[in-house]
């Protein structure tokens, strides 16, 4: 499905004609990310992050496959096998650091991608399915990243696994048996390490599959844009190729520059020193901290310190942490405003930026030890987080008076340029 004016794939070479009749794979690519996909002409650089997330996944899969050729998933040798990669494998240090920092780069671009969707209302009809699949990808990424962090079998790997699998033991009655079943033992050990390795290798391909669905669902209504106004006619769009392949190329260049700077100049900046100590079940690190991309959720987990309504504080924390992500599934129906872009939603725009600051504060609290003032800050931060999505957003979308909107994407583009020229002549 696409717009009626979408360019049609017409193979010229005999070989391509032959292929198109038997297996129209080039046609599929042409219509998905080639000239056959019309895209709004006014996308800004925030629309690069989908392609960048795809690039990050490819980098993770390629480096990961090479790492798996040298890594040994056995609790006795896993730590030393990673150091073997760092010291003795040709360019192993590069592959390993690229994979390690690639995970961080993947999360950076995906978080920007998510917040782009939040600001411009990309989760709203007719793109709810795109958003839902996106949340599924996010959940799969978190599971994959967590299991990947366990594989080097350092202190933070081991104790992170201990803490995260401990969530399941918060479930009343059946919690402990579930945890033992998931780990294959009473504590993380060889059985857990092996299944984490197996799943860590599997899930990226599941993610790739869901990404295909994500793009498929996107192509039915077509891409959103900074005005949030739907495409009306041909002059609102440009073909994806060459216009957005060129623009995404710039994004990929900048992304790789940052990636290279992080990987080669400061590869351990986002890591934790304790993970260079081999796992030791008898010695607990002073501060158990997850990787940075989990900090906001870790802060929400730890914010619940009171056994409210006979529910254990730990269970509250676990429920809240999962709810913090699960509520994103309901976002398209929590926000009932017909206006998508926050450019035309004066009230929502303010609360959006409050949410950004709130998540950053939660992240800082998740990194910090469980002491005051961080406990209080994470409690206030968690209150705002839930209030934002479950209370403020539904009310705002009802009472807000949107700003006047242009009639079409083209009108918005042309009036912007008219402003520019009048400002230049004035």
């Amino acid at each position: 499905m696409s717009f009626p004016w979408a360019k049609n794939y017409e193979p010229k070479q005999p070989l391509m004609k032959w292929l198109d009749e038997k297996l129209p794979l080039p046609r599929l690519v042409y219509n998905a990310i080639g000239a056959g996909y019309p895209v709004p002409r006014n996308l800004n650089y925030f629309w690069n992050f989908g392609v960048l997330a795809g690039a990050a996944l490819v980098i993770q899969i390629v480096t990961g496959i090479v790492l798996a050729m040298h890594y040994a998933a056995n609790a006795g040798v896993a730590f030393n096998s990673v150091e073997h990669i760092m010291r003795d494998v040709n360019a192993g240090w590069f592959i390993r650091y690229a994979h390690m920092n690639g995970a961080s780069m993947f999360f950076i671009v995906v978080y920007l991608h998510i917040f782009r969707g939040l600001y411009y209302g990309s989760y709203k009809a007719p793109r709810e399915m795109v958003w839902l699949l996106g949340v599924v990808i996010f959940l799969l990424m978190m599971a994959t990243a967590f299991m990947g962090y366990v594989l080097p079998w350092g202190q933070m790997s081991f104790w992170g696994a201990q803490v995260i699998t401990g969530f399941f033991s918060a479930i009343p009655v059946v919690g402990d048996p579930i945890r033992v079943w998931l780990l294959g033992g009473f504590a993380p050990d060889n059985a857990a390490l092996n299944r984490f390795f197996s799943l860590h290798y599997l899930l990226p391909f599941v993610i790739a599959g869901v990404i295909i669905l994500h793009i498929w669902a996107l192509h039915i209504p077509g891409s959103n844009n900074p005005t949030g106004i739907e495409v009306k006619d041909e002059q609102d769009t440009v073909p994806f190729h060459p216009y957005y392949t060129a623009k995404d190329g710039v994004g990929v260049g900048v992304f790789l520059l940052l990636f290279v700077a992080l990987t080669f100049f400061s590869p351990n900046l986002l890591g934790h020193a304790d993970n260079y100590i081999a796992a030791n079940p008898l010695s607990t690190p002073a501060h158990i901290v997850p990787e940075w991309y989990f900090w906001p959720f870790y802060a929400i987990l730890r914010a619940f310190t009171f056994n409210f309504l006979w529910i254990d504080a730990k269970l509250w924390g676990v429920i809240a942490m999962f709810a913090a992500i699960a509520l994103l599934f309901f976002l398209p129906w929590l926000d009932s405003s017909p206006v998508k872009s926050s450019n035309y939603r004066p009230l929502n725009r303010i609360f959006f930026w409050v949410l950004v600051v709130d998540v950053l504060i939660l992240g800082y609290c998740g990194k910090s030890p469980a002491e005051q003032p961080y406990v209080l800050l994470s409690q206030l931060g968690a209150i705002y987080y839930f209030a934002h999505f479950l209370i403020i957003l539904p009310i705002v979308s009802r009472i807000e008076r949107p700003l006047p909107m242009p009639n079409s994407i083209t009108e918005a583009v042309l009036s912007k340029h008219a402003d520019d020229t009048s400002a230049a002549t004035a």
């Binding site: 030393n80 150091e83 990929v252 990987t263 839930f386 539904p394």
Partner: protein, 269 residues
Amino acid sequence: MVRPLGFLVGLGFIAALLFAIFTTPLTNEPNASHEFHKHPKHLKLASDGLMPHWDKAQLQRGLQVYKEVCSACHSLHLVAFRDIQDLGYTEGQVKTFAKGFQVPSVNPDTGEPATRDGLPSDYFPGPYANEVAARAANNNALPPDLSLITKAREGGKDYVYSLLTGFQNPPANLPKELKPGTGLHFNPYFANLNLAMAPPLTKGQVTFADGSPNTVDAMAKDVTAFLVWTAEPKLVKRVQVGWAAFLFLLIFTTLTYLSYRNIWADKKH
């Protein structure tokens, strides 16, 4: 239905959090050791920054300090003798160096455990047969392996250097419960202020062939530089390759930007 239900769920979480706020004390339990704990001193090395190189003479001195001092208690099990060629030794020198160590082996005639002369392919043998032996010899403390120590501690090389040079008499106002117990030594750079390791370096302990100073500070710097190398022998190469990749990408990004400008030139957006 989603909105009223969401509203109730939101109120539930907020109520639980409000109760949590009002029942959590706003002050932390006092921790006296914080007050005496010191932040590591900065140590500048040739391998720092964006233009790093190995100061081979310093690394060789550091290796000597490790061999003559640290190796009495600390292993270096990720480093092989062949690796020290990076420090500027010839193949022959590495062979001779390796020969100076006895490594565990098996008597080829009887199958009994034995030892033999080290080979370049062998790893530095540890001082103890196992953890029990290590603890028995060290008042129940376990001397950590040093291969990764500058990456495995908050503060990295600064911390290692500060710890080595930071031993001192406990301050007079140190509370009784923080005073070093039997077999412990006060060091403000250590997380809980008292550690089992005695001050390892004394002035003039190691004599360097090149006549370099052998004060505690100088030896601590040398051995820390050496441990930065053991933690990441590919550090200098990493940054050099990084510059090549960075410059390549800078050109790549400039070209993509120019082609982007070119393609969009006739399109208002």
